[in-house]
Symmetry: C2
Subunit: 350 residues, 2 copies
């Protein structure tokens, strides 16, 4: 375990590098936006999320993994930009599906422009992402380009599958969800497109398709799971300004997070009835008082502590898999950055 | 002008050919669907619209234009399937944005599975469409494949632009819309992806990129406009069972169709106030009585007659442009079918 001072330095280094990537990728995303009409109802809304400060974790992973496996940095920027654009497309549609109000510290597209305009903006971002990826892969050998495209399609479908499972659990008010169901959910919903895909596609381009993908997937899964569980925790214990989304929003939405899964399996009597009654209601019928009461039950029953312990176990496994996943990568600042990202995702507040 | 008997024969021929294409493309679409989970919340809903009987106009245009310009039929089926899949993706999202209840004679996805599941299903169909197009273009020369992909991205963006303009007019309750604004709207919203793109991409593949696209665009625009105006008319005067959508649904949604544009510019006094008041309300606040009253005003002020006359003018121009657009095409059943489609789209009831 690193000390407090050392850890603070690590976080600063990681964040300053992420900020650099975010700036570059933001410029690249906005440059890719079509210069057409209607600005007011389509192209204006499409620029909003990409203009807001994002973490840039996904493009940073792709760029660093790619370079660590020998890629020319120029051939990766377009691919990293396409990943971040598709991420923005997902965010726009997820915010509609979830009825979310805040994203990256500002109102969601649906809450300012209406659902229909937000729906179109999300579709538009996905189309622009494809166009960017197409231009980026034109310089690659055709088989390698096909490989990258296959990865992209798989990633997009995995993410949708996860999103659909989560929505389905809420629609059907599924209560018998265990930690392993939760892990399967976030493997699809988060890990594939947040960590596994950016790492894989960077490594594939860098190694010209020769890399062993299995250990990368294992590492990416554990790393991405730690990232998602941290996200769930920030939604419960975070600071809204740093986090950029509504605190306790997941409880309003009835999302089956690890803490809620734990609470459902450990709460008893009137406490369990309270949670179940809350989940049976529609979002509009859920009260702030009940949300706060459930949040307190999570302390009473140790659901927060359980979540932290669970995630720390996953994080240790991720650290073990790291060396195996990058055994054939070149040592240097890219590999150091990737290694530092593992504790970073667990220490972050945004 | 052809006689009634001759015209009935023409409609039968066109419809039997469209049915054949619909069967082939439906099978091809369903074969392309991933065989994964969750079926209940994603892959099941994704199969619903492609399983319902559609007109198959778009794939039929692509296949026939392609063969008329010399394409091998096998190399076009995947492209035609991708176009129809993207069309289905658009329908799913449009039905969400418009709050529609019926599609192809059955409830919309959003009304049976909820908005969030429908949103995911539309995204999924678009991803599968990309995958199908990717496999279909793999056998083409790489430059030709890039050309096809460029066409696909342009088409998708044009459609979104049109969809966004239409939604924007409704959100801002725009009243000063003339026939030329309406034509610009449907050029984007309908013509590009319904007629222009399928014809262009078929011709590009058939001619190996050597075809002159300008006359095809001119023909496709007028042909597509006649198709859309017919669709608007069927929404006002059609038979719900054949049409498959709610009759008068456009009036509930406040869509700026040519008939409504005409009524807004010709109604006077209390009649105009009635229309304006209706349009200012949200969809939920619009009454069936007012919708019927507005429908009657369209007869009183000659808005239906104006729309018919306007469309017949456009149809004549389409017929004139047809010969120019297909001057280099091979005579035969494909060219005959394409020629017969022009009067067909204006005579159709579904």
């Amino acid at each position: 375990m690193t000390g407090t001072v050392e850890r603070a330095g690590l976080i600063d280094d990681v964040e300053s590098r992420l900020r650099r990537v975010a700036r570059t990728v933001r410029r690249s995303m906005l440059d890719a936006m079509p210069d057409g009409e209607p600005v007011r109802w389509l192209y204006g809304p499409m620029r909003e999320y990409p203009s807001r400060p994002g973490k840039a974790l996904r493009p940073a992973l792709c760029l660093s993994a790619g370079r660590a496996f020998g890629a020319d940095p120029n051939e990766l920027l377009g691919i990293a930009t396409a990943i971040e654009l598709l991420h923005n497309a997902f965010l726009v549609h997820d915010d509609i599906a979830d009825g979310s109000e805040m994203r990256r510290g500002r109102p969601t597209l649906a809450s300012t422009h209406g659902m229909a305009a937000a729906l179109n903006a999300g579709d538009g971002l996905a189309i622009v992402a494809s166009g960017v990826l197409r231009r980026a892969t034109r310089t690659l050998d055709r088989d390698l380009a096909d490989l990258v495209w296959g990865e992209f399609d798989t990633m997009a479908l995995r993410t949708l599958e996860g999103q659909a499972i989560e929505v389905g659990w809420q629609i059907d008010n599924v209560e018998d969800v265990g930690p392993e169901d939760y892990l399967n959910l976030i493997m699809h919903k988060t890990c594939w497109y947040t960590t596994i895909h950016p790492l894989r596609v960077g490594a594939i381009v860098g190694s010209r398709g020769t890399v062993d993908l299995a250990p990368l997937v294992r590492f990416g899964f554990h790393f991405g799971a730690a990232f998602q569980i941290r996200d769930d925790l920030l939604n419960l214990v975070g600071d809204e300004r740093a986090y950029g989304k509504e605190i306790l929003g997941d409880l309003y939405e009835g999302k089956r997070t690890l803490a809620l899964v734990h609470l459902l399996s450990s709460a008893r009597g009137a406490d369990l009835d309270l949670v179940r009654d809350h989940l049976r209601r529609s979002r509009a019928e859920r009260s702030a008082d009940t949300v706060r009461a459930i949040r307190e039950l999570m302390d009473t029953y140790g659901s927060i502590a359980f979540t932290i312990e669970y995630a720390e176990g996953i994080l240790m496994v991720a650290e073990q898999y790291f060396e195996q996943a990058f055994a054939d990568a070149q040592p240097g600042p890219d590999l150091d950055f990737l290694r530092a990202l593992v504790p970073y995702v667990w220490a972050r507040w945004r």
